[in-house]
Amino acid sequence: MKKIYRFLDERLGLEAFANFWLKKLLPPSTNWFFTLGGAALFLFTVQIITGIFLALYYAPTPNGAYASVAYVQEKVLFGKIIRGIHYWAASFLMVIVPLHLLRVFFWAAYKKPRELTWILGVFLLLLTAAFAFTGYLLPWDQKGYWATVVGTNMMGLVPVIGEYILKIVRGGMELGALALTRFYAVHILILPALLVFFLGLHLFLITKHGSAGSWNESKNDLSQGFPFYPKQAARDLVIAFFLIAALLILSWKAGAPLDDIADPTDETYIPRPDWYFLFLFQLLKYFPGKLEIIGAIVLPGLFFIVLLLLPFIDKKPRRAPYRRPLAIFFGGGTVFALVLLTFLSIKEDRKLRAAQAEAARFDPILAQAGEKLFAQNGCEGCHEGDGRIAATGPSLIGAARRHSQEWLILHFKDPQSVSPGSIMPKFDYLREEEMIKLIHYIKSLKKLPPG
């Protein structure tokens, strides 16, 4: 063994390599907070390995993608576990990478001479998000499909060139086979190549400049320090152990979700991004219509420009958080805003789903009573009842899915108030219970089979 090691060392310089990466002295103040970067590195490694294994089965076509992912999930030994790890590690990365950034931010470790390490780190955060975004579509299920429809539409909001961007990203106007192969190639070829490049440089610079240690420079005397290996390495590995244990338990107990196969004609599906993009989704709600571009492009863009330029905005050498009130105020405010937006989005979705469940509720007895009212009030004069065509009014099939109960009741009372230009007369003499009966009747209407 020793002989082989000496042979390789003389030719490869193993000793020097180990000295550079492992024996580097850390400031004595280095503690558990400094394991976040290592945790991110570990998770990226896990993603690369499990990603390659998933690629052994994955077929990037609309028909093949869903079937091959389901096959991995159901037929391949440990397939559920490997896919589960890949899925959950992506979520973990979307927590750990920002936490690592926050740690560096609050310790002000981005200051001279570590500006480039920081900038590379910001790009790595963007890459993490890009991985998450492109990976979401690949199973070609409802969740991924609709989230990507919405996500890519946001890119179309860019002024002047938006439509071109959209076409380049999707390979055309529609989200279909061409988009899937694009997302696949970006996810498994382009992003990993960029990741290896940025991560390699990032790690090199971290080791070259050493850890910034405590914001209290008097605690950073390297002569009192200790080498990365074994103490800090052991800490990193303790964290890695808990991460892999959590990933295994989550993939075993919860697995990775696989919705129904993507159905572009399903108008009842509520598209939602995965939880880590909910803040952006919620932000968009506050910028309706023409203002949407502010939430979709301007604010996120500004945020990243500020992040990138942070080492040059906050240049003074002082590092303690209490001596940087402005930076801490903005940093803390951003975190607060992101958490709040995510929380609000979850809360509003809960309401929306409850409303959808209400709309889906169907009582056949009410529908029967509604059918009588439908005839008594002459509705059939304009609308088709059970498939009979009467051309004046629009088809009512699906109307109770497209509109809420509140909307439909307002519409009965005064059609023009919610549907301007409608020629339907007011039915304000009906009682609300009667309107609800009519709504249940409308819910019972289904398309008759052709012919």
Partner: protein, 155 residues
């Protein structure tokens, strides 16, 4: 002295955890990779090759057939062929896959034997090796005759 003890402890901890983490990952990854080996071969289905009485004794007859095969996550319609020989004791169906390295053998009518185009393997009409590198005679399908039709069992 105490300092050295601490270093040893961290070194052992790091190595132990490294090994444990690698094992925790290696078990599912290894199983995943070995999945095709560990999967039991399916029973296979019976495919009809048409009426049994159309095969006259004398020489093997080439018959093409197609069937739907499970191909991982998809089903594919595949076309294959087999050689049917009528022997006094019944019908025999040979797979045309050379037992050497899997090329497709053809029937040579002049020499009345099977020839493999890849490495010159030669089989007699009964599928026995006459020349070349094949280590075994041509593989025979399981066969059955039901209601006058010949069936072979495909993988």
């Amino acid at each position: 002295m105490e300092e050295i003890g601490r270093r040893d402890f961290f070194g052992l901890l790091a190595k132990g955890l490294g090994g444990l983490i690698s094992t925790l990952l290696a078990v599912p990854l290894g199983g995943y990779l070995l999945s095709p080996v560990l999967r039991k071969a399916g029973e296979g289905g019976w495919v009809s090759l048409g009426r049994a009485d159309k095969f006259a004794p004398g020489r093997p007859v080439r018959v093409e057939y197609s069937y739907e095969r499970e191909d991982g996550w998809m089903k594919t319609k595949v076309s294959r062929y087999a050689f049917i020989l009528r022997r006094p004791d019944g019908l025999v169906a040979f797979s045309p896959v050379c037992t050497h390295l899997g090329c497709s053998v053809g029937w040579n009518e002049e020499q009345k034997n099977f020839h493999c185009p890849c490495h010159g393997g030669v089989y007699d009409p009964e599928g026995k090796v006459l020349a070349g590198p094949p280590p075994k005679p041509l593989t025979q399908f399981d066969t059955k005759v039901e209601e006058g039709k010949l069936f072979i069992r495909v993988a």
